[in-house]
């Protein structure tokens, strides 16, 4: 976070809400109220389940939707009013989920679409951008003659050609298969870093979000549940939704006691957020599989009820005496049979807990 404190704010949203008109979507509020600041040259990943308003967020910034309330600023300029600052006047580029390549135009014409000015300068710029994305010599093809990865590159080239200040990526990799996705991601990232763009990537893929951003925002039902560095979001989720949505999570039920929260795995201290604890009686403590250590022990309280092998790791499902189940992640080299008893240890510096029913 500190990296940006002196930087300029590139995108600022203040209490923006956006509802779709009644036809089809029944006037549902798709977004908001949302407030957000994105700094110059920052890479922000926006993660959320489908229907959480991710795409709407981008469309509001691009000027393709006009928010009903709130204020949108680009580089300090108020652009809330779409009529006064239409999308074509914003200097915002967007790569769409299914690329939205113009099917009747060649690659070259697609990339040149956003360029104006002399033909010579235009040609030079198109060649430059095509080279940047590694498509030199493919200008004469039509979109349907390209593979998925190539179409993706054309979409990126078309977006980058007019030198946008802000680049918005709407699930751009979701149509590619897993290997290509990873490859394209690092390539696109490298290109955009080189151009020092300000980028928002929208995705529903956690791996992509973790790998992308300087920061990430978790969106749920049109609201930002948490905004921060990826590790912070993983280790210290602010809401139960974030805890459950990011990574694998089990919740251990416990009761408030004088030292903290008492569970069947012991008492968890809650020094840092003790203030919040006092309000409620029953709590849920976030347990991630990588926090749970297990030792074979015939007298142990937990039983291995299932295990799942996934290459380099094994995920053990453990049943506690109360019947509650939690998971433990172990290296594959460790082999514990199903049905055997184990002793549990939870490695926790600071428990993350949420009032039950929240």
């Amino acid at each position: 976070m500190t990296r940006y404190t002196e930087s300029r704010v590139m995108i600022r949203l203040e209490d923006v809400t956006q509802a779709y008109p009644s036809s089809g979507r029944e006037g549902r509020v798709a977004l908001g109220p949302v407030s957000l600041e994105v700094f110059e040259q920052e890479f922000l990943a926006v993660l959320g389940p489908s229907g959480s308003g991710k795409t709407t967020l981008l469309r509001v910034i691009a000027g393709l939707e006009m928010p009903q309330t709130g204020r949108v600023e680009l580089a300090g300029l108020d652009v809330t009013n779409v009529k006064r600052t239409p999308p074509e006047k914003r200097g915002v580029g967007m790569v769409f989920q299914d690329y939205a390549l113009f099917p009747h135009l060649t690659v070259w014409e697609n990339v040149a679409f956003g360029l104006s000015g002399r033909n010579g300068a235009k040609r030079a710029r198109v060649e430059e951008v095509l080279e940047l994305v590694g498509l030199q010599g493919m200008g004469d093809r039509y979109p349907y003659e390209l593979s998925g990865g190539e179409q993706q590159r054309v979409a990126l080239a078309r977006t980058l050609a007019p030198n946008p200040r802000v680049v918005l990526l709407d699930e751009p990799f979701s149509n590619l298969d897993a290997d290509l996705r990873r490859e394209m991601r690092s390539e696109v990232k490298a290109i955009l870093r080189k151009l020092q763009s300000t980028v928002i990537l929208v995705t529903h893929d956690q791996e992509e979000a973790f790998d992308w951003g300087d920061r990430m925002a978790v969106l749920n039902r049109g609201r930002i549940e948490q905004l921060g560095a990826s590790e912070e979001i993983y280790t210290a989720p602010a809401t139960r939704f974030v805890a459950e949505f990011i990574g694998r999570a089990d919740f251990l039920i416990g009761r408030r006691c004088s030292e903290g929260i008492e569970t069947e795995l012991g008492v968890f201290s809650l020094k840092s957020s003790a203030g919040r604890v006092s309000q409620h009686e029953t709590w849920e403590i976030l347990i991630r599989p990588d926090m749970v250590e297990i030792e074979p022990d015939p007298k142990g309280g937990a039983v291995i009820v299932a295990r799942r092998f996934s290459g380099i790791q094994k995920l053990y499902c453990l049943e506690l005496p109360s019947g509650q189940r939690i998971h433990s992640l172990q290296p594959s080299t460790r082999n514990l049979p199903e049905g055997s008893r184990v002793r549990l240890k939870v490695l926790l510096k600071k428990a993350i807990c949420f009032p039950q029913g929240s």
């Binding site: 393709l64 999308p87 967007m94 769409f96 939205a100 679409f113 956003g114």
Partner: protein
């Protein structure tokens, strides 16, 4: 993925060992459908050179100019009107769009020859308009409805609904993220419309344009009524008036050539481009506010609806009332004599039912072969059998006439020949409707039935046929409706005294007994309305368009 696709192809190739029981009938049916056209061309090739020379020097140049002028005017007019109306209904804040959406195809309920007859009677010399003006004491000359202008006007009214339906469906399925992308690339609203929307409508426009062009190339009723000479009207005259079959064959061959040129031209404009943008994005495109343009837009719509629908219906109703009021015509019309309306109705009904049933029955094996076994031969048969498509009814009748006179003189001037002409002419409609219906029934259902122990025929009968019922129904109604309204082939081939509803309307109107035509005309329209409604009820979702004339 690649492996499985290859494996599937291999399996398909091995398992689709040609089923002769299907293949042989398909081939015979397809060849049968092509016989009249092929024989017509053969006849034309044996026309004496001096006849050709005479025709080419005298009639042909003027005919080509006349025909192309009419076709061009109608195509441009239908494209303009259809596009404008589709845009108004889909992309603007025009009031009452939902009602207008279906009202715009309403002119289809009146067959175009009927519209032409009404126009001739309304605007013509000593027509209703003149009488009306005289009764007010106004002496003024009414602009002539005859000739190129009038014929083009009526044909535009008859063809714009086809363009409208196709373009509207295309607009409805238009992927609006392409427009978003254009805006995000810095294009203004207008530039996005011109550079993205319009080019992507090209397939719809060209399909609609070709329909309109073929329609006016093959039209018989409008050009004859409004006295505009085209290939079709002249061929008809050669056959009926002066009986010169070799000249008719020669002109017919030229008309075939003209039609093929048109179809070839349509295929040329695509190039390598693709226009498949039809992926519903879920986000409706924003509506354009018409503002003060609302009034001219509504005025245009009112004019179109009056001209295409209300005027013909009004004229027909006027005649009907008249026929009741005048005792002689009343007796003539509703009496129990052989002229009774019921008789024509029965005639029309019988031939149309026979033609529709036969066409669907014959189309079924071909449709199945071409959809399920996508090998070269079944595609060829499907293509051959559609040779008659987009050819004027006059030419089908002509070809059939030549064949019958040469090989089966016993069939000449029988009801069976009329039915055969309908089947040959409307077979492509049945085939296409069945084919698209079959394509929607996944082959795996039938394969499943096979794996559960059913023989091919039983699997088809127990699984595919029940699922195909809507398509069977649709194609039957399509052919029935077309046959019910068919005019030129019936006029040329019917046995003496065998009058269908359209023939009755035509002969009564051409003798000037409009009052006698009215009940038959309204009966025809009344029969058409529920069928047309049935055919078009799903058309907004599927964007299908049906052609009948």
């Amino acid at each position: 993925m690649a492996v499985s696709a290859r494996a599937r192809r291999l399996i398909k190739r091995r398992s689709s060992a040609r089923p002769w029981g299907l293949w042989l009938p398909s081939a015979l049916i397809a060849l049968g459908m092509a016989v009249p056209l092929v024989y017509l061309l053969y006849q034309a090739s044996s026309v004496a050179p001096d006849v050709w020379a005479r025709l080419l020097q005298t009639r042909v140049p003027g005919l080509i100019v006349n025909t192309l002028l009419l076709t061009g005017l109608v195509t441009i007019g239908a494209l303009g009107l259809g596009l404008l109306l589709a845009w108004l209904v889909e992309r603007t804040d025009l009031p009452a769009r939902k009602i207008l959406r279906s009202l715009f195809i309403a002119p289809l309920i009146v067959p175009c020859y009927l519209v032409a007859i009404c126009y001739a009677a309304f605007f013509g010399a000593n027509g209703l308009l003149e009488k009306m003006l005289q009764s007010f004491g106004w002496e003024m000359s009414v602009p002539s409805i005859y000739g190129l202008g009038g014929a083009a006007f009526v044909l535009i009214l008859a063809t714009y609904p086809y363009v409208y339906v196709i373009v509207r469906a295309s607009l409805e399925r238009f992927d609006s993220t392409l427009l978003d992308a254009a805006r995000a690339c810095g294009a203004s609203r207008v530039r996005a419309a011109l550079r993205i929307t319009l080019p992507l409508l090209v397939p719809a426009l060209s399909a609609g344009g070709v329909l309109a062009a073929l329609y006016s190339l093959s039209d018989f009723g409008v050009v004859t009524t409004l006295r505009q000479q085209t290939f079709v009207s002249v061929i008809y005259q050669q056959l009926t008036g002066r009986y010169d079959p070799s000249a008719a064959a020669a002109l017919g061959a030229l008309l075939v050539l003209l039609t093929l040129l048109l179809l070839w031209g349509q295929g040329r404009i695509w190039g390598r481009r693709r226009f498949a943008s039809e992926k519903p994005s879920g986000r409706p495109a924003p509506l354009v506010r018409l503002g003060r343009w609302k009034i001219p837009a509504l005025a245009l719509i009112v004019v179109v609806l009056i001209a295409g629908l209300l005027l013909p219906l009004g004229v027909l109703s006027f005649w009907l009332v008249n026929s009741w009021l005048i005792p002689q015509t009343n007796a003539l019309l509703w009496g129990t004599s052989g002229n009774a309306l019921l008789n024509y109705l029965l005639n029309s009904f019988t031939v149309s039912v026979a033609a529709a049933s036969l066409a669907v029955l014959l189309a079924l094996p071909l449709a199945y072969a071409s959809v399920r076994y996508r090998d070269r031969w079944s595609q060829t048969w499907a293509w051959v059998s559609q040779a008659g498509q987009s050819l004027p009814g006059v030419l089908i009748a002509l070809g059939l006439l030549f064949v019958v006179l040469r090989f089966l003189p016993g069939l000449y001037a029988t009801v069976l020949l009329v039915i055969l002409a309908y089947v040959v002419r409307f077979f492509p409609q049945a085939l296409q409707a069945l084919g698209s219906g079959l394509a929607q029934v996944p082959a795996c259902l039938e394969e499943g039935a096979r794996l559960l122990g059913h023989r091919p025929l039983s699997a088809f009968a127990r699984v595919t046929l029940p699922l195909l019922r809507p398509a069977l129904m649709g194609s039957w109604i399509l052919v029935f409706l077309s046959a019910l309204r068919e005019l030129p082939a019936t006029l040329l081939l019917r046995p003496a005294g065998f009058d269908t509803l359209p023939v009755r309307i035509w002969t009564a109107a051409s003798e000037g007994f409009y009052a006698q035509a009215a009940p038959a005309a309204l009966g025809l329209i009344g029969l058409s309305i529920p069928l047309l409604f049935w055919l078009h009820r799903g058309s907004s979702a599927q964007g299908s368009v049906k052609s009948y004339d």
